[in-house]
C-alpha cells in the first residue's frame, strides 16, 4: 500500500509541466501582450480592418483632427487640414507607418499590461493625443505647395515643438483614392504618397549644404575672415569643371555665401580639406538617425570615401552623391540658431486618458553639434543672406536668417528648390525647411513658400 501511494509522486512531473507551461504563458503575455492586443484582428479596436478605437487627436490649439463616432473614424471638416496633416495623423489601415494613428496605436488604445484595454471599454474611446502641430499653419503650407511634391516643416528650435509638417503628394483621407488607383497611377501623382517626406525623404541638398561647408571653413581656416575669392564663372578642378550661373567677380567670404558662389565653395572645400569637411558633417549629425514617434528618420549621407578633388569640389557646393534628410536639416538649423545645440523636433505633445490622466508627456531631446562661436558666425552670415539677398520684406519682423538651394538632380529634370532658415526674433524662435521637388530656383519656388508659412506662424504666435 505504501509503495502504491508513493508511486503517485510521478504525477508531480505533470504538475511541474503545467507550472512550467503557465510560466511560459505568463512571460509571453507580459512580453507580447501589447503586440497581440493591438493587432488588427482585435475587434475591440478595429472595425473591418480599420482602427477605430483611438481617442481624439487634436492640434496645439485644441482643434480636432481625428476622433471616433459611432465606430467610425472622423477627421477635420476642412479638406486643406485633412490633406496637410495626413502624414502626421496617419491612417487607420497602417499604410502611413509613421503616422500617429499607426505609430502611437498602442498608446491610443490605452492598452497597458495591468488593465488591458479596459479604459477603452469604459470610456468608449482610447487615449487622446495632443499634437504640437498647428493645423491652420499646415493648411497654409499645403496651399503654398499648390500640388507640387515636397516638404514644408517648421519647428520651435527652443522647445522642439513641430509646428508644421506637410508632405506632398498626399490625399484626402475622407475620400481616399482606391489602392489600385494609387498603385496603377503612371504619371507619378502618388509617388511615395504613404511616406512622410520629412522623415523618410532623402534629397540632394544643393547650395543649402554650403551651411556645412561654411561652418567647416570657419572651424578649420584661421584667417577665413580675410579670405577673398574672384569668381570667373567657372573653374577646373582635376579636370572637372565647376560652374556658376554668372560671373560673381571678387568677393569676401560673406559675399561668397550670399551669392552662393559655386566656384568659391569648390575652392573652400579643397582648402578646408576632405577630412575636415567629413568631420564637420559628422559633428552636424550626418549619418545619424533620429527617433520620431515610433519611427526613425533616414540618415543624411555624405560619402567622400571614393572622392577625388573634383568630387570634393562638387560635394562642397552640395552636389556629388550627398543626400540629406529634411528632419535632419531642421536639426542643423536648430543647432545654428540655438548656440550649437539642436533641440530635436517632436510632434506628440502628450497622451492623456479620457478621464484626463496624463499617460505620457514628451520632453524634448537635445544634441550638441558645434560650438556656440561657430554657430553664431554661421548665423550672422545667414542673417546677412536675407538682408542683402532674399530681402527682409519677405520675412517682416522676423530677423530671418536663411539659405536657398537649387539641387541639380539629373540633366533632364528641373532642380529641387530649397529654403532653409530660421527667425532670430526671440518672439518667434522658429526654423523652417522647404523642399519643392523640381521647383527650380530656391529663391523662386521654396523661398515664397517659406515666406508665407513663416508669416502665418508669426501671426499665430503673436
Amino acid at each position: 500500500m505504501k509503495t502504491t501511494a508513493r508511486r503517485g509522486y510521478v504525477v508531480l512531473l505533470l504538475v511541474l509541466a503545467v507550472a512550467v507551461g503557465m510560466s511560459v504563458l505568463a512571460v509571453r503575455f507580459a512580453t507580447n501582450g501589447e503586440k497581440w492586443a493591438t493587432l488588427r484582428a482585435n475587434e475591440h479596436l478595429n472595425e473591418n480592418g480599420s482602427f477605430i478605437a483611438a481617442g481624439n487627436i487634436t492640434d496645439r490649439n485644441g482643434e480636432l483632427l481625428a476622433y471616433t463616432e459611432n465606430e467610425k473614424r472622423i477627421y477635420s471638416d476642412s479638406e486643406r487640414v485633412r490633406r496637410s496633416t495626413l502624414h502626421i495623423v496617419g491612417d487607420t489601415e497602417g499604410y502611413i507607418a509613421s503616422g500617429v494613428q499607426t505609430a502611437y496605436k498602442t498608446r491610443l488604445t490605452g492598452y497597458n499590461p495591468v488593465t488591458g484595454i479596459y479604459s477603452l471599454k469604459k470610456h468608449g474611446r482610447g487615449n487622446d493625443v495632443i499634437l504640437t502641430i498647428d493645423s491652420q499653419v499646415s493648411a497654409v503650407a499645403y496651399d503654398k505647395l499648390n500640388g507640387r511634391k515636397g516638404v514644408v516643416a517648421a519647428y520651435n528650435y527652443k522647445t522642439g515643438e513641430l509646428l508644421c509638417s506637410v508632405s506632398s503628394p498626399n490625399y484626402d483621407i475622407e475620400n481616399k483614392p482606391s489602392a489600385e488607383e494609387i498603385n496603377n497611377n503612371k504619371d507619378g501623382k502618388y509617388e511615395g504618397v504613404y511616406l512622410n517626406r520629412l522623415i523618410d525623404g532623402l534629397y540632394t541638398p544643393g547650395s543649402t549644404f554650403k551651411i556645412i561647408t561654411t561652418a567647416s571653413a570657419i572651424e578649420n581656416i584661421s584667417d577665413i575672415s580675410s579670405w577673398k575669392y574672384t569668381c570667373k564663372g567657372e573653374m577646373l578642378v582635376n579636370g572637372v569643371k565647376v560652374t556658376c550661373p554668372r560671373v560673381h567677380g571678387e568677393m569676401d567670404f560673406e559675399e561668397c555665401f550670399a551669392n552662393s558662389c559655386n566656384c568659391a565653395y569648390a575652392q573652400l572645400a579643397l582648402k578646408t580639406g576632405k577630412e575636415n569637411i567629413i568631420a564637420t558633417a559628422e559633428e552636424f549629425g550626418f549619418g545619424q538617425t533620429f527617433d520620431f514617434g515610433n519611427s526613425q528618420t533616414k540618415a543624411s549621407i555624405l560619402d567622400l570615401s571614393q572622392a577625388d578633388d573634383g568630387d570634393l569640389a562638387w560635394a562642397g557646393v552640395g552636389q556629388y552623391n550627398t543626400l540629406v534628410n529634411p528632419y535632419h536639416m531642421l536639426t542643423v538649423l536648430g543647432a545654428v540658431a540655438n548656440d550649437g545645440t539642436a533641440v530635436l523636433p517632436y510632434t506628440v505633445a502628450s497622451v492623456t486618458t479620457p478621464s484626463g490622466y496624463v499617460v505620457e508627456e514628451t520632453t524634448a531631446q537635445t544634441r550638441a553639434y558645434i560650438s556656440a562661436e561657430i554657430a553664431d558666425a554661421v548665423k550672422s552670415m545667414m542673417r546677412n543672406n536675407v538682408k542683402i539677398k532674399y530681402g527682409d520684406g519677405n520675412f517682416e519682423g522676423l530677423s530671418m536668417c536663411g539659405k536657398t538651394g537649387t539641387a541639380e538632380i539629373s540633366d533632364n529634370q528641373t532642380p529641387h528648390s530649397w529654403f532653409m532658415g530660421f527667425s532670430d526674433n526671440p518672439q518667434c524662435p522658429v526654423a523652417i525647411v522647404v523642399v519643392v521637388e523640381n521647383g527650380g530656383w530656391g529663391s523662386s519656388a521654396a523661398l515664397p513658400v517659406a515666406s508665407d508659412v513663416m508669416e502665418a506662424i508669426y501671426k499665430s504666435l503673436a
Binding site: A5, A37, H44, Y118
Partner: protein, 558 residues
Amino acid sequence: MEALVGFMTSGMRYIMLAVVVYVVLRMLLALFFKKTTDPVRGKLVNTITDEEIFLYDRETSLGRNKKCDIVLPFDTISRLHAVLTYRNKGFVVFDTFSKSGVAVNGEKIDKKAFVHHGDTIDIGGLEYTLYEARYKFIKDKSRLIARPSYGIVLILIAVFNMCSLFLNLYSDGVFKPQIIVVYLGFIALQWIYFVFATFVLRIHNFELEMIAFMFTSVGLAIVGSIYPDAVLKQFLAIVIGVVGFSVMIVIMRNIDTLKSIRWVLAGASVLILGATLIIAETTNGAKNWISLGGISLQPSELVKIAFIFVGAVTLEKLQSIKNLTMYIIFSAICVGELFLMFDFGTALIFFFTFIVIAFMRSGDIKTLSLVCGVAAVGAVLIMILKPYVASRFSTYLHVWDYMDEGGYQQTRTLIYSASGGLFGLGLGNGELRNVFAASEDLVFGVVCEEFGLITGFIVPLVYGAIAVWAVLNAQKTKSAFYAIAGVGAIAMMLFQTMLSIFGITDLLPLTGVTLPFVSKGGSSIISCFCLLAYIKAVDMRTFASFKPRLEAEGGGEE
C-alpha cells in the same frame, strides 16, 4: 440611474475577482494544513521475539522485497509473500503466490482466510499473533491555519453568483427569467448539499467542493452570458453532477462491494464507446456525441468515471504485475475506440490516465515503456497512413502565420486574453465569445478576457496544487483503491486542463478538450463532479466518521 448601473458593473469585476482569489486560496490553505488522525487497526506480535507491528492501512503487504510495507528479510519468505487487508468484517490475509505458504492457527490457507483477534498467522515460518489495538495517532497542523468557515465561503460564492445574475439578467436589453431561476437555484443547491453532507454524509470538510463550486460558478456565469438559452440545461447537469458526487461518496465507503462490479463497468465502458462509434454522427470532425431522445451527450465523459474505477480496484493483488495484462487490454480498447472517433484529445487523456494508474499498481516501468513505445509507433503510423489526421496539427507553433485559417482560435484566444489585462473587461464585455466553441474549448481565453488573467491562471494552478496535495496525502488513505483513484482522477483532470489551456495558447497542438468545471457541457460537468468524488477519497476525513470507531486511549504521537 445609468451611472449607478455603470458603477456597479465596473465594480463587480473586482468583487468577482476578489471572491475567486479568496475562496481558492482559503480552501487550499485549509486543505494543506489540516488536522489528521491515523487510527490503528490492529497489531501483530511476534510469538518469539514479542516484536510489535502496528497495522494502520487497509492493505498491508508483507515480504522480502524492500517495497513491501513490512519487510521480512528471511530466505523462507517470498519477495511478495502475503497481503493483510482490513475490511468491515475484519482482517483477511491473502497468500500472494508465496513458495512457503501462509497458515492461520496452524492451518495452511488456500488463497485467503479470515483472521480474528487472538489468531496466529504463520508467514514462511515466522509466527505472529493478531491483537486488537486502540490507538489514534493525531497529526495536528490545524494550529497553523484556523478551520475555515464554510458558511462564509458559501456566502461569498453566492455573492459571485448574484453578480452573474445581475449582469446576465438584462444583457442585450432582454429580460431573461431563467437567469433568476438558475443562479438562485445554484446557490440553493450548494446550501442543500452543504446541509445534506454535514448531517447525512457526515462530511465535515468541504475544501474540494467549495473550489469546484467556485469554478463551476465562473463557468455558469459565462454560459448564462453567452448562451442564456442553454443555461437551464447546464444547471440541471450541475444538479445531476452534485447528486452523482454524493452517491459515489456513499458507494466508495464500502470497498468490499466495489470489487464485484468492476468487470461489469469495464464491459459497459467498452460497449458504450463502441456503440458511440457506430451511432454517433460526426460533429466538428469527431464522432463523440450521441443523441438520445432529444438529450445529446458525450459518452466518453461518463466512461472516464468507470475508467478510473476499473483501474483502481486492484485490492489484494498489490505490486503484482500479473493483473496488469487485463487492464492493458481494457485500456487499449477504450483508447482505440476514442481514436477511431477522432476524439484525439480524450484518447490522450485516457492514455495518460492509464499510464499513471498502471504505474501506481505495478511500478512496472519495463512493461509501461513498451506500451508507450507501441502507442507512439501506432500514432506515427496513423499520421502517415491518414495524412488528414496529421494535417489537423499542422498549424501548431505557426498559428500567427495562419491567423485567419487554422490558427484562428488560438490567435484570437491570445489576442483577447491579452486585451483583458489582469482584471478583465467584465462579464459580457468580451469579443472572444463570438468565436466558435468559445465557452467550451476556448473558455480559458474567455475567462482571461472577461474575468482577467489572474482568474484564468488560477484555474490550472489550483488543479496543480490539488494534485500535489493528493499525491502527498495518498498514503493516508490507507487503501490502494482510494490512493489510485484519487491520484488517477486529479491526474486526469490536470492533464485535461493542460491539453485545454496549452492547446488554445499554442504551447501544445490543439486537441479541443474542455476545461474541467469551467467549460460548458452537461456530460463534462457531470463527469467532473463524479471524478471529484475520487479525489475526495484521498481526503481521509471523508470516511473517518464511517469507520468502525476506535476509542482514543493513547496519546497523540507525532
